[in-house]
């Protein structure tokens, strides 16, 4: 095994494993995830509900509810330090100034009984050692930065007095308040309407670019990631199955699951007449009864005997592009099966 500290990336997750012990069995929510993010880079983590995206994010910042959850293996190297080895106090100083987090509801929700100001001022005082006064004026600046009109008045509001879009802006302000090197945004815009989602995403992109913040963007929306991510990781049943530069991954998917996902999405630029959507048969597996071998094999059109026996490992399929599939050579050659209808309207 490689030594901790030997990482050239801002964040490098190695073979991360997180389990939940539940009444109905052990759920291995994260089952050997490898992932890295460089300075200032935006990485998308996509996958369907329950595949382990949120648990992976929670594991990185060590906020997995324990019990029933436990990180049982791997390393999370952030600026060379393995976060899994830190004590609780040290970890508190990573969250905030090191890694800012916007969580998926409802875990996220702002504290309903505290004013917006209190919720931003406190971390500023704790992490950056600001006085109450400094923190207060910084709060107004932050709210202005995320586009809240009349910040010094709005600061005194409570979360319920704001719209969903404004609350999400506040979440971004809080996550960025201590100038983190990395921002993790877990479904940060999923609950919002499309026009508001567009506002928030553009804001996030603008701010992370301006401050050189790296961004881990977690979502099930393949469209959102296509616009913003430099690289994309596709997760299924607790593992990353394919990873590559966005254009590569969308243009030349090499894992049957990625291919199926892309074919399943109705496209805004393809007419009704373009025909049936591609569909992945069956349902995602029960997390307590993962299929042996490649967890995708019961739903996979390409599966061969080996797939139900042996779990494929990641193999290079292009520059910076890896896929975990025994049949990856065949998958690359079926562009014809993809919905390649690109009669884009001007």
């Amino acid at each position: 095994m490689e030594l901790a500290g030997a990482s050239r990336h801002l964040l490098e997750v190695r073979n991360l494993e997180t389990e939940f012990h539940t009444d109905y069995g052990v759920v291995r929510a994260v089952d050997g995830v490898d992932l890295h993010i460089d300075e200032g880079e935006t990485v998308g983590l996509v996958g369907e509900s329950g595949c382990g995206k949120s648990v992976a994010a929670l594991s990185i910042v060590r906020l997995v509810p324990d019990p029933p959850g436990r990180i049982v293996g791997g390393q999370v190297l952030f600026e060379g330090t393995d976060l899994l080895q830190l004590d609780v106090r040290e970890m508190r100083h990573v969250r905030g100034p090191g890694i800012g987090i916007i969580f998926q509801e409802p875990l996220t929700s702002l504290n309903p009984v505290l004013s917006i100001e209190r919720q931003i001022v406190e971390p500023l005082q704790e992490h950056l050692g600001m006085t109450r006064r400094q923190a207060s004026s910084r709060t107004a600046e932050l709210l202005d930065l995320v586009g809240i009109p009349d910040p010094s008045a709005r600061m005194r509001d409570y979360p319920h007095m704001l719209s969903g879009g404004q609350r999400q802006r506040i979440m971004i302000a809080i996550a960025l308040s201590c100038n983190p090197r990395l921002l993790i945004a877990d479904e940060a815009t999923t609950a919002l309407d499309v026009t508001i989602q567009a506002q928030i995403l553009e804001l996030m992109k603008d701010l992370t670019e301006r401050f050189g913040t790296a961004l881990l963007m977690i979502t099930h929306n393949l469209g959102v990631v296509a616009r913003y991510a430099d690289r994309v990781c596709v997760m299924y049943a607790g593992k990353i199955r394919e990873m590559g530069p966005s254009e590569e991954l969308y243009g030349n998917p090499r894992h049957p699951y990625t291919l199926g996902l892309l074919g399943s999405v109705p496209r805004l630029d393809s007419a009704r007449e373009s025909g049936k959507l591609m569909q992945i048969p069956g349902d995602v597996p029960d997390p307590t009864m993962m299929p042996p071998g490649c967890a995708f094999h019961p739903r996979c059109d390409y599966a061969v005997e080996r797939c139900s026996e042996e779990d494929p490992w990641m193999e290079e399929v292009g520059v910076g592009h890896v896929a975990a599939c025994w049949e990856r050579a065949r998958v690359g050659n079926i562009e014809s099966k993809m919905v390649s209808n690109r009669n884009v309207s001007a």
Binding site: D193, Q199, L222, G223, A226, S264, R267
Partner: protein, 364 residues
């Protein structure tokens, strides 16, 4: 099918395709094929909810204009897609069509019958030919009922079977129609996945052999791979049984894929409505344009080239909608007049490719 009543004949002719219109103008309504007239015709529909204050002495202090002057037609065997953001009134429109919500005013003519203010007999009858799949697939299935009973409920309500065996056969057939094994009939809703629950809801909506199904966000809660299964299923069912759908969604890509005609709603109003791909290829309303530009596409090369119209501000409250055009507070091209005049629907396009838009600045 019932013969047309005079009132609905007049409405139908006004919006019917050219051939029908020509015949009608020659006074030959009797000769018109009934299948060419809309199955459902909604005119100037209003649903306003009172805002009540006070605990013991309640008084009405205002109204939420959830649906505000909405008109549209649905043809037999076709899908009308209704898109719009949260609170725009999509669910309320669907509920008002099937009379689960009492319209404040307006007309809903279904198979030639006026449903607004209709007797309960007329409504019962209409609800055999029209059903609804509700927005929340978890909440809309009774957790204490077995799947078979859920699916068979409309059959029992309308007594459309002769014997117990006939009933059970039909329930089994309904499960098969939505791609499920009839053996699952004895399970409870929580024992199914989200996609399976949505199939059960669809099976129930098919039970009484309807001509029209109101689908309120039928795939929004589902994962993409399951969403595709359900969309394909709905399209197959439509082809096989000549079903008409009102397909409510907030995802434009889903609506484009499923709808023959698309209506875009904003704050209780239809701001643009058009046949086929018109709305997507040639959007005329600034809101439709913004909505299209904000909808993300799973294609990095294309996405990065696309210009995005980012609207400022939030959606105003339907209790207090802006004067004039309801969109004007967020509209990038609004002028002073927009606050003064309520824009009327203007028609463009051809009779076979209809396109209507409510914006005083739209140019065509």
């Amino acid at each position: 099918m019932r013969y047309l009543q005079t009132t609905s004949a007049a409405t139908a002719v006004a919006t019917a395709p050219d051939a029908v219109g020509a015949l009608a103008s020659m006074g030959e309504i009797a000769a018109v094929n009934l299948s060419a007239v809309p199955l459902l015709s909604v005119r100037d529909l209003n649903v306003h909810f009172p805002i009540n204050r006070g605990f013991i002495l309640q008084r009405t202090v205002g109204h939420i204009r959830a649906v505000n002057g909405v008109s549209f037609d649905v043809n037999p065997g076709e899908t009308l897609g209704v898109v719009g953001e949260s609170g725009s009134g999509k669910t309320t429109v669907a509920r008002a069509v099937i009379q689960l919500e009492r319209p404040t005013s307006g007309s809903v003519i279904f198979q030639g019958e006026q449903l607004v203010g209709a007797t309960s007999d007329v409504l019962r009858n209409a609800r055999r030919s029209m059903s609804m799949v509700f927005q929340d697939p978890y909440g809309s299935l009774n957790p204490r009922m077995r799947a078979g009973n859920i699916v068979g409920e409309p059959l029992r309500a309308h007594r459309v079977f002769e014997s117990k065996n006939e009933y059970l056969d039909r329930v089994a057939e309904l499960f098969q129609m939505v791609g499920m094994h009839p053996g699952v009939a004895s399970r409870y809703p929580h024992q199914f996945s989200g996609g399976q629950r949505q199939r059960i809801a669809i099976a129930r909506s098919l039970a009484a052999n309807p001509n029209l199904i109101l689908l309120d966000e039928p795939v929004s809660a589902l994962d993409v791979s399951i969403q595709a299964q359900v969309i394909n299923l709905l399209e197959d069912l439509q082809d096989e049984h000549d079903l008409a759908y009102v397909f409510v969604a907030h995802d434009l890509s889903v609506v484009r894929h499923t709808a023959h005609r698309t209506a875009v709603m904003y704050l209780g109003k239809i701001v643009e409505i058009a046949d086929g791909d018109e709305i997507y290829d040639n959007p005329l309303h600034p809101y439709t344009q913004a909505l299209l530009s904000a909808a993300p596409m799973p294609d990095p090369v294309l996405e990065r080239k696309r210009e995005r119209i980012v609207l400022t501000g939030d959606i105003p409250s339907p209790a207090n909608p802006p004067s004039g055009c309801v969109f004007r507070t967020r509209c990038p091209i609004a002028i002073d007049d927009c606050a003064e005049v309520v824009p009327q629907m203007r028609s463009t396009g051809s009779l076979t490719r209809r396109h209507e838009v409510a914006c005083i600045r739209a140019e065509f």
